[in-house]
Amino acid sequence: MKANVPTRKKIKLNWFKSNCALNIERKIAIEYNTNSVTYNKITWDVLVQYVLTKEGDPKEIPANSPMTLYKGGLPFLFLSTSVTIGNKIISEELIDSDITVDDDIINVDEGEDKVTYEDARDPKEHIEVRTRLDKITRKITIENKLDNEIDLELNFKQTKDVSFIKSQPEPSKVEEPNYNYNIKIPSEQKGSVILDLQAKIVKRVTRIKPEYLKLEENRINRFKDK
């Protein structure tokens, strides 16, 4: 390609023009810890990515190249590219503000405490470890405020403290620790997923050992008598 590149000027050159297939990928990633699993309400973001599969030769497009999407001859979205893989041009991830996700707690069944002891630094003390397994039910409601139907992927990832029991509907794909749900939501409607989870709640308290507690009480009583 031959061109003139004058000093202190910008030049614009045509590079390629081709048809492409457009795929809009929306994802919700959900993960809890022992604290957040008991929150009354959590809101999650829906991340959207535009994937363009180009016809013809692949073009290597640098990351962060500006991209403008036009619909009906008018620009409606300004974003950047994140990566190109072969003929696929993938945009950066954006938060889709037209889809809201509310995650509410429905039920908590507290399990029974199991008490075990661990050594403390002071030989007169020990650490009382209270472990219980709570069963928690949460409802994730997704609202589509767009004027078209959407497909999205909800991914619940279990952690060492919060594990999956069952869900309504069943996951579309399970690849532990990931539970994937492919959800279709018509325009201006809501969809939901109910998750039954088990949370391992561990509380640690350092206490004086009972034998030392009695000796301590005796010493205090003797002091009072005097």
């Binding site: 390609m1 000093t7 000027k9 190249s65 619909k71």
Partner: protein, 238 residues
Amino acid sequence: MLIDPKVNKLIIFNGGGGIVERQIKLSLNQGLNKFEIANVPASFDPNSADIQLEFINPGDKDSITLQQTIVSLPDRNTSQQIIDREKSAATSIISYAIDFTRELREKVSNICEASSYRTFADMKGVFDFIISASKVGEIIVKIIYFIADLRIKWQTTLQVDIKNDGKNAQIEGFLVVDNQTGFSYENVELGFAIFELPSTDMEIQYDNFGEAEEEMAQQAISSLSKQKRTQRMRNLML
């Protein structure tokens, strides 16, 4: 002898800078022939500057040889003083000029603007070479050098026109070359590469190393995270 070889090819990096290829046909006298290349920017990399000889007559291989190249960059302090003086002169011209005619005004404002943008990279570097010839002859000389000037770079912009079905689109890609350097390139073969010139972060860190101990520890940690990664230049298929 001062020569100004034409820039044939310019490969621009998206992270700034590029590779310049220049070419000229030269007539040689018997003995040593010294040439000075004009219009070499001070942003050129003296270590990677290269001269390649292309023989017009294959029989000249033994009689014509490149004896040496001589490269140097202008002194930074002196160059900066010259730039500052030019800038203040430009400011004075603009402040006191009242009755330039339209044509003159454009010329003067262009000169003033150019001087206000001038940096060390717009000064001239020295790139000379000596060719030894045992007989009179002609040769094509190819000159190649890197330019480490972040003010010349390229980026792509994409326009995606989504069809009514929402599943198909037409994509149009453009290459935007931004040349804010003081050098123009006329009718050159352009190449585009995805590459970023290595930064000098590590040098800056070592300069500051004499300070407080805590700061040293922090810098050591940050330098660990800034361990160099491989970076291979990728040419764009046009």
